[in-house]
């Protein structure tokens, strides 16, 4: 079963921006992969992701989270990935990946995400392993990535979108 991993868009910010907004995502792939390397210009913990222009809370989330050394299992409604804020070491960026399965299909969409805030502080490393479900049947054609604290993404933050095609 041949599998292709194709770059759709790779975007690195030259200046601070409120959001990344990938629009008109082609429906020609089987799955999507979103990779984030972000840092906020103020305090923050998460990169919130909106689907098709909708709310970032329209997604069921179940995740395991290492929160400053405490392992937490939670379920709530958010589509998100860890993000670095100004409290993280200077010029460091979080890294996260979300795999969107059958994003253009007619069923509810399921996604898996992993990510970590990066820090030189050994006691404050936050790691997320999450499963998500978007309870709608429309094809996903837009992803909007905003900062959960309502601030901007710093210059050099990047968001990359890839398409996976299974023949």
């Amino acid at each position: 079963m041949p599998v292709t991993f194709t770059k759709i868009q790779v975007t690195t910010l030259g200046s601070a921006q409120a959001s990344f907004d990938f629009q008109n995502i082609p429906a020609t792939y089987t799955d999507l992969v979103l990779k984030l390397s972000v840092r906020s210009t103020s305090a923050t913990n998460w990169a919130n992701i909106g689907i098709n222009g909708g709310s970032t809370t329209a997604v069921n989330l179940k995740h395991l989270l290492n929160f400053s050394g405490t392992i937490i299992s939670q379920a709530y409604d958010y589509f998100r990935s860890p993000a670095n804020g100004v409290a993280a070491s200077t010029d460091t960026f979080s890294n996260g990946e979300i795999y969107l399965t059958n994003y253009a299909g007619a069923n509810n969409k399921t996604m898996i995400g992993d990510g970590v805030q990066t820090s030189n502080n050994a006691g404050d490393i936050e790691i997320q392993l999450a499963g998500f479900r978007w309870p709608f049947t429309a094809a996903i054609n837009r992803l909007t990535i905003t900062c959960d604290s309502g601030s901007n993404w710093a210059a050099n933050s990047s968001a990359s979108l890839y398409g996976i095609k299974k023949d």
Binding site: Q17, A18, F20, Q23, A43, D148, S149
Partner: protein, 78 residues
């Protein structure tokens, strides 16, 4: 005149990227996000402080040989 924050829109069908100022609706959502974030941070800080106080109290009672409350015991029992 205050400059509005901008967003980066990438059209994946053409590869064209453009920076646009946030709309009124997006500005309102951004302000709401900031308020909710501050409230969550305050709640988390309060919970962290309460847990730290319980642990401190539990430790002091253990050293002194005094009985712990159920809440205090829960901070040290797996």
């Amino acid at each position: 005149m205050t400059t509005r924050p901008t967003k980066l829109i990438v059209d994946c069908s053409t590869g064209i990227a453009q920076e646009l100022e946030l709309t009124d609706e997006e500005m309102a959502q951004r302000e709401l996000d900031a308020i909710e974030w501050a409230e969550r941070q305050a709640a988390q800080q309060a919970a962290d402080n309460a847990l730290a106080a319980l642990k401190t109290s539990a430790k002091a009672k253990l050293v002194a040989g005094e009985p712990l409350t159920e809440e205090e015991a829960a901070t040290i029992v797996l």
